[in-house]
């Protein structure tokens, strides 16, 4: 064989070999773009079966995920999909699976228990979901028995609503010169504490709408050094309820990353408020509220949507006080499932262990988002 032919065979062979290598052992970028799956996947172990299922879920390949289940006869594919994405518009609907991890709990020759933790990414942050999966061996492959959770259907009914509502007529462009516009509502910071945490300085407090009209509020904090210079300025962003009805109080929390409290001489607080149209609907009641001390300190309870409309996303802000009524901590949680009328949905707000010991009382405050309500 001459050199040319040998070179041609070498190039062709090397090309095929490189493609095989790149496909069987793809690099991280290619693996991520393929949804985490490669051609070496098999379900020869319980962990592999759960991994394959999680990857199918991550790719939103519901058909493949459903068909791999051992107990698929117990529910339909749409029910399986709704279990993961919700049957109403919610954070789950457009959540993407950021990553997952699994922990084998125990296994035998034909059965195993594996805990699957899914980390979902949403527009307002991430939320974890834990499922304990029973995995069974069918022939030479393992299959997952999916623990289906079916959302409660609300029965047909009429729900009367009777709520307060404020409308505002602003000064128009064609109004006479000198015409008064509506006055901004009066709000006041009733409590404020700077605290040093591992990742920086945290400013927390409470803001009161002391007016008789609703207010759209924000709080900005500026840290000042001893020489009066500005160290940093941050806003409360979503760690506050921005819509306050008359006499309502919202907690707020502002985080300054990579700042030491020892460098801070003073803090300048800038609350702002503007008058907006608002209504008291939907009313979200909190049931079974309970503080669970460390370890695993948390505030738990159930949200009940008392209106007749679906609330797509709820945000719970927890305020924690010590024995003297001083503010200890502010924490929050987004609810990943929609709140259907009259249907309780659990929440759980975690509290840092070191602060949990000081907590004597707590308060939960809920804000909501309903699709279409912004029109």
């Amino acid at each position: 064989m001459n050199k040319g032919k040998l070179l041609a065979i070498l190039i062709a062979g090397a090309t095929v070999a490189l493609i095989v290598i790149g496909t069987l052992w793809p690099n991280a970028a290619a693996l991520a773009l393929a949804g985490g799956g490669n051609l070496l996947q098999s379900s020869s172990t319980p962990e592999a079966a759960v991994t394959n299922l999680a990857q199918d879920i991550g790719r939103r390949d519901w058909g493949k995920a459903y068909s791999s289940l051992a107990n698929k006869a117990e529910f339909t594919q749409p029910e399986f999909q709704q279990d993961l994405t919700g049957n109403r518009l919610s954070l789950r609907t457009y959540a993407t699976l950021e990553n997952f991890d699994l922990r084998p709990l125990h296994s035998s020759a034909n059965e195993a228990e594996v805990q699957l933790r899914l980390h979902w990414s949403t527009v307002v942050g991430t939320f974890p979901e834990t499922r304990d999966l029973h995995v069974v061996k069918n022939g030479d492959r393992w299959q997952v028995q999916w623990p289906i959770v079916k959302e409660t259907r609300v029965p047909p009914q009429v729900i009367p609503v009777n709520y307060l509502r404020w409308d505002v007529i602003y000064r128009g462009a064609g109004d006479d010169w000198g015409a008064q516009d509506v006055e901004a509502p009066h709000v006041r910071i009733v409590d404020m504490h700077p605290v040093e945490r591992a990742d920086g300085v945290v400013i927390m407090g409470e803001l009161l709408n002391e007016d008789i009209v609703p207010a759209h509020v924000s709080v900005k904090a500026t840290l000042l050094a001893k020489n009066g210079s500005v160290i940093a300025s941050e806003g409360s962003f979503d760690k506050i309820a921005h819509l306050l009805l008359p006499k309502q109080v919202t907690p707020f929390l502002i985080t300054f990353h990579n700042v030491s409290l020892s460098d801070v001489s003073s803090v300048r607080m800038d609350p702002s408020a503007s008058l907006v149209s608002a209504s008291a609907d939907p009313v979200i009641a909190i049931q079974d509220q309970q503080f669970n001390p460390a370890p695993g300190a948390s505030l738990t309870g159930q949200l009940v949507n008392q209106s007749g409309q679906v609330v797509n996303i709820a945000h719970v802000l927890g305020t924690f006080y010590d024995k003297s009524g001083q503010l200890v901590w502010v924490a929050d949680q987004y609810i990943d499932r929609a709140l259907q009328p009259q249907t309780p949905v659990p929440f759980r707000i975690t509290v840092p262990e070191d602060l949990a010991r000081k907590v004597s009382s707590e308060r939960a405050f809920t804000t909501t988002y309903s699709a279409g309500s912004m029109q």
């Binding site: 041609a8 062709a12 790149g22 773009l33 988002y369 029109q375």
Partner: protein, 568 residues
Amino acid sequence: MTFIMLAACAVHLPLLLMKLPLKSYDTNFHIFFASHYVHHWFDPWNTKWYAGFSQATYPPLPQQWVALISHITGLDMAYMAVQFAAILLLVVGVYRFSLLWVSPRAASYAALASVFLGSESFLVYSAGQLGTTSAAPIYLNALPYLFDWVRHGSWRSFLKGSVLFVAAAAAHHATLLFGSFFFALPVLALVLIDRNEGEPTSTPSFIARTVSIAVVVGAGIALVLLPFWIALIHYPVTQTPIPHPSRANYILSPEWGLNYFIIPYGALVLAIPFIIWRGAISVRLRPLLLGFWVAMLVGLGGTTPVGHLVLGRAYEVLTMERFSYWATLLALPFVGLLASELIDRFRMRAVIGLSVAATLTCGLSVAWVVYHPADASNFQVDSVAAWLNRDGHDNYRYVTLGFGNKIARLAVLTDAGSVDGEWNSGRMLPELTEHGAGALTSSKYFGKQGTDALTAILGHADKYGLKWVFLKDPYYEPLLSFAGWRHVDDLEDNTIAVWMKDGVPPATPLNAAQMPPHWQGLMWGILPFGSSLLALLIVLIPDKRWQENPTDQDAITHDDIASGRLVS
């Protein structure tokens, strides 16, 4: 050649007159850069994106030509004119480059094939990569001069090659950097192979000529793009890598394989066995084969480990489709050879078959922008621009959500500045560079990284004077609602919502260290564009017809004989 140029006109001129590239990913990006040069030729600091960024982070030549021509035709048609010139230049470049390797007849077929090249149409009509598609033809035209200089020591070729190389770099730096490996090294290897044919080229002469042109071109590029190098050295691209589907494994992700391999290559895929076989058995074609092979492997993205191994950190920054483009350009001399032999053997049947293959390849890649549009939702941003431009709204910055690559078109139309943008390597805002996400307007496609970047920038709205959010995708509505933004207006039949944040101070210019000083602005306005004018003038000096040198012609004829043996 006239016939081939007419073919290029017949195929591409109607498509460009229809402004088809406006539907591509990056065309509006280039038009946006050009629009800045229209008003600020000597100031590369653009305040419309990222609260201010330097356009000296991207070679300016094609965009400056667009800016110049736009004074006559407007920006859109100026873009089409420059793109058309690049397509015509490619025909000439492919012909001249192919002449180094194959006979004039095969080179003519190669040039004709370039008109129908899938990767060219893909980059022009789907990707909108004006920089790459204008630099490559200039580079191809420079390579024969490189050969002539190193092989024969022609000072005229030295001069012409040098100015063309510099002009190519002024159009797109990556083309020159990687083109040196994929294109120039094979040409230099060809000189070595041919050095003892006829008039010999001694090894010291070869080395001296290679080094001399490398030094002169290197110095020229360093000077012409000095502000670019200064920006790159002071502010290297260290931001978190952003995922790009061209780095996918095309077997594990076949949808991207279709997009980045099947469409750009088209019927060229069928020629790959011939390329490998003929390139291997013909000594003169081996360097070209190796250049093609490595470029193809890198262009396959994550399908093989080669791209990652060859490019290292640059693999995370570059997109891979340009390597496929270069691979297909390197394949064209082989395609010309194959066409020549097929036509010799099968006559009209080969002509028909090749015509069908070329038409399907070109047709599919042109139509790909329809089947796989850069932006599925075709909407106008004129009303958004008009809203921003009235009542002092442009005193504040804005960001769009769900606008896709329309943000460049909006930036052209409005006077207001944004904290977002599409030129990832030029951005400096820490909220953006710390997260591995692209444009904020498409942040949901980047998962947690995208959401984190968006949250960070919205959280610092006061700092950047960011008062307006234009919402096209309701996906983002909950974040705005919970973060304290208010819905204040609707545009485009209520398909675009305007959200605002209370209490935001008016935007002020950022006193960024990246802002190029005045002297760099002068250089940026004079030297890159001047290099192209100089290249035009010098290339007009009549050529010595080296192609007719009997020695080199003998070498090509020898290959033709070899190929004839193979086919028969």
